[in-house]
């Protein structure tokens, strides 16, 4: 099932991290079967694949929500009140950073610098950067995402 991904890289251990990243992109997480297949194909013990899969922040062993909300907690954003924004998301979604809402709608992460420090505080939603955030803008953004999730559910 992963042939397309394997075809992009030399099939050896140097490609492990990138192959896992592509699997992550494809499925939204790293399914156990995929990890086994990677291990067999690259001839790397499953334990080592697992060790790498759990070491890097971009890799996740559990499925992620439909919306990925990442609050930047880098230094530049921190001094511009990013902690208040983090708390807002926590309260609104009622989950801790790293978790996914029960309905599978949102995954919420706190990340260290997304490289857009000049427009901090920054929140990245589904790969789009939102700059100069504040508590109220954050609430509105979440409301909008929730609303469009509801609309989709109805149609």
């Amino acid at each position: 099932m992963l042939e397309r991904i394997f075809s992009r890289y030399p099939v050896d251990r140097t490609s492990l991290v990138m192959i896992l990243q592509d699997v992550q992109t494809e499925f939204g997480y790293l399914p156990t079967d995929a990890l086994k297949e990677v291990s067999a194909r690259l001839q790397i013990p499953a334990a080592q694949v697992y060790s790498v899969a759990t070491f890097y922040n971009v890799l996740s062993l559990v499925p992620r929500g439909r919306n990925l909300v990442r609050v930047c907690m880098g230094t530049a954003c921190h001094v511009r009140q990013a902690p208040l924004i983090l708390e807002t998301v926590k309260r609104e979604l009622d989950i801790e950073p790293g978790d996914t809402t029960v309905d599978g709608e949102f995954t919420f992460q706190s990340v260290g610098c997304v490289g857009a420090c000049a427009i901090g505080p920054v929140v990245e939603v589904n790969d789009i950067h939102h700059g100069h955030m504040n508590v109220n803008k954050m609430k509105k953004l979440l409301d909008k995402l929730e609303q469009s999730a509801k609309d989709e559910g109805q149609s």
Binding site: T14, T75, A76, L84, A118, G131
Partner: protein
């Protein structure tokens, strides 16, 4: 794409052909496509420019160029009309038509759309006259504002790949290294190690294969110059690596780039393809006996992977755990082969040194720190963005002349440099000259160039806690001093910021710092205590206020503050009342409002709703 360039002579001919008009002088409309401007909507602006150029019949005469970052991210989206170089900041879609009609077609300057100098209120038409740019010295960043990063011809037309040509045909590897050593170039990624000396050791090392690596992991939170270089001028980095590879005798190059930087990855992939197609990468480059190619590896989002040995472990398909440094990577690096690893900005400096000579490069800077450094000037500062300055410039000049001072007339408190390994420079040291030595002397460091400005509303204990928390999350956990030391330091700082600290906690932190710095495996743990020690050194009074008075002078530590409304400033606009999730703000419209602190959860909603700065936290 340019067809394979067979010889040095052919390269010269091509360059002559394409450099008839310098990209800064050609008829074009440049739109900044950097990450900051993208968030501000530059894509839509660029689309509109394209549409309007076409609609007004100017598309064949004026080229739309989407460039890399101009540095002035605060003012995005940025549009510059060339060759008149009229600079329009914060461009709105609805103004694009007007700009094309009046400035592009008719050559007029639209006064009301120009940059407005915040102090004097003057309108300024050209980039070079804006104070933010005027005090900078742009060497590495010189071309970011006008070249098309997706077109190798633009790089060739500014003299690109002339340095590798010189290195291949007019210099011996030994001479390249001599030149780089003489220039005094020091690594821009953190340690400030002499680049020439590193290359020399790698040249001297024996190995069947040798690797050249570009460290584009840029993990320092608050720094983004490497990203902007890769996005705006990828060929400069490629050319630097070519020269380095020639010098040390390597055939294989790797760029290790953060996965959080998709645009940088995309630009780099395209640039590598173009260079390969033009025969500037691959076998027998420009007809010489030198062969070299570069591949990309995307990092997995771990701060510690920016450390050279952890980075190599990651490239080998393992978890990014550093190893002890007594084995030198220049001799035993990636897969145990000799390896030269440098930072993006370091590589980007190399072509300039080879082309124009070590002396010219060394004429800028201080005794032991030569050239320029790019800083990301962020935090509580008016002009946020990327600034390239000569080494030796004072902190005051950066903050006030280039940065335009602190927003809302607040008081300056400190600048933090060196990221999680660095420290703070307080008000009393504003005249400090910024270079490798001076920063280290005051307990901070150059690091990769993050410069985070903090004002009176910043709590320095919270800042220390922030860095320790960051490092605890990012520590790979391999060695005990770092893993356990950070945990204990964080517990201690948590107590202090929650108002449960004791005076002996300060001693505990100092002792821990000492212990971690002498016994950790890598520099992550080794320098982890710096932000704590430096804030204790310069802001001991703030630690004491938290411990003795149970008070947070910066108004940040949630457990120690209460929200209130300043009756002098409140105009009763009701904005805070509307957003308060707990309905604890009382007061009729046009009447002064008050907060019932018993129900207040200190969420900050009122703070961001208030337009008059009337909410205070004490």
């Amino acid at each position: 794409m340019i067809e394979r360039i067979p010889t040095a002579k052919a390269l010269v001919e091509i360059r002559e052909k394409v450099s008839v008009t310098h990209p800064s002088m050609r008829k074009s409309v440049t739109v900044c496509g950097g990450t900051g401007c993208q968030a501000a909507g530059c894509k839509e602006v660029a689309d509109k420019v394209r549409e309007e150029l076409k609609a007004q019949g100017l598309a064949s005469e004026f080229k739309l160029v989407v460039t890399g970052c101009h540095g002035f991210c605060e003012q995005g989206p940025i549009v510059v009309v060339r060759p008149s170089n009229v600079f329009y900041p914060k461009v709105k879609i609805r103004n694009v038509k007007k700009i094309i009609e009046r400035t592009v077609a008719a050559g007029e300057i639209i006064d009301e759309l120009l940059y407005k100098e915040p102090v004097s209120g003057d309108r300024i038409a050209h980039e070079q006259d804006i104070p933010f740019y005027a005090r900078q010295h742009r060497l590495v960043f010189a071309h970011n504002g006008y070249i098309d990063p997706t077109d190798i011809t633009d790089y060739l037309s500014i003299g690109g790949y002339a340095a590798i040509e010189k290195a291949l045909f007019k210099m011996k590897p030994d001479e390249i290294i001599e030149e780089v050593t003489r220039s005094g170039l020091r690594g821009r990624g953190g340690g400030g190690f002499l680049t020439g000396r590193k290359w020399r050791s790698c040249l001297d090392a024996l190995g069947e294969r040798k690797f050249v690596i570009c460290n584009a992991d840029e993990g320092d939170p608050g720094a983004f110059m490497d990203r902007s270089l890769l996005e705006g001028n990828p060929h400069a980095v490629i050319e630097g690596m070519l020269i380095g590879a020639r010098a040390v005798g390597s055939k294989e190059g790797i760029v290790y780039v953060r996965h959080e930087y998709p645009l940088a990855v995309e630009r780099l992939i395209d640039a590598l393809d173009e260079a390969r197609h033009a025969g500037l990468l691959g076998d027998d480059i420009l007809g010489s006996d030198f062969s070299f190619d570069i591949r990309i590896s995307r990092g997995g989002g771990a701060f510690v992977c920016g450390e050279s040995t952890a980075l190599m472990a990651s490239l080998e398909g393992r978890s990014g755990e550093p190893r002890a440094k007594y084995v030198h990577t220049v001799e035993h690096g990636l897969f145990d082969f000799p390896t030269t690893l440098n930072n993006v900005e370091t590589w980007a400096n190399v072509p300039e040194i080879i082309e124009n000579g070590a002396d010219k490069f060394a004429s800028v800077g201080t005794e032991q720190s030569k050239g320029t450094k790019i800083f990301s000037l962020v935090g509580k500062i008016n002009n946020t963005g990327l600034v390239e300055v000569p080494m030796g410039i004072s902190v005051r000049d950066i903050v006030y002349e280039i940065g335009g001072g602190i927003p809302k007339g607040k008081k300056f408190k400190a600048v933090q440099t060196g990221g999680p390994s660095g420290g703070c420079i307080p008000q009393s040291m504003l005249d400090l000259q910024v270079d490798f030595q001076k920063l280290t002397e005051v307990g901070s460091m150059m690091g990769s160039g993050g410069m985070i400005v903090m004002d009176e509303d910043t709590c320095m204990v919270d800042v220390a806690r922030y860095f320790i928390h960051f490092l605890k999350e990012e520590s790979c956990g391999k060695c005990v001093p770092c893993r356990e030391g950070l945990k204990t330091a964080l517990d201690t700082l948590d107590r202090i910021t929650q108002g449960k600290g004791e005076m002996k906690d300060i001693e505990i932190l100092e002792e821990l710092g000492e212990w971690m710095s002498t016994s950790s495996l890598c520099a992550l743990g080794g320098s982890a205590a710096n932000p704590v020690l430096s804030t204790i050194l310069h802001f001991r009074d703030e630690y004491e206020a938290h411990i003795v008075e149970r008070r947070c002078p910066g108004g940040i530590c949630v457990e120690l503050i209460t929200y209130s409304i300043d009756p002098e400033l409140c105009d009763g606009c009701h904005a805070c009342v509307k957003v308060c999730p707990k309905d604890v703000i009382a007061g009729d419209k046009k009447q002064t409002h008050t907060i019932d602190t018993t129900g207040c959860i200190k969420c900050g909603a009122c703070l961001s709703a208030c337009t008059r700065d009337a909410i205070s936290r004490k």
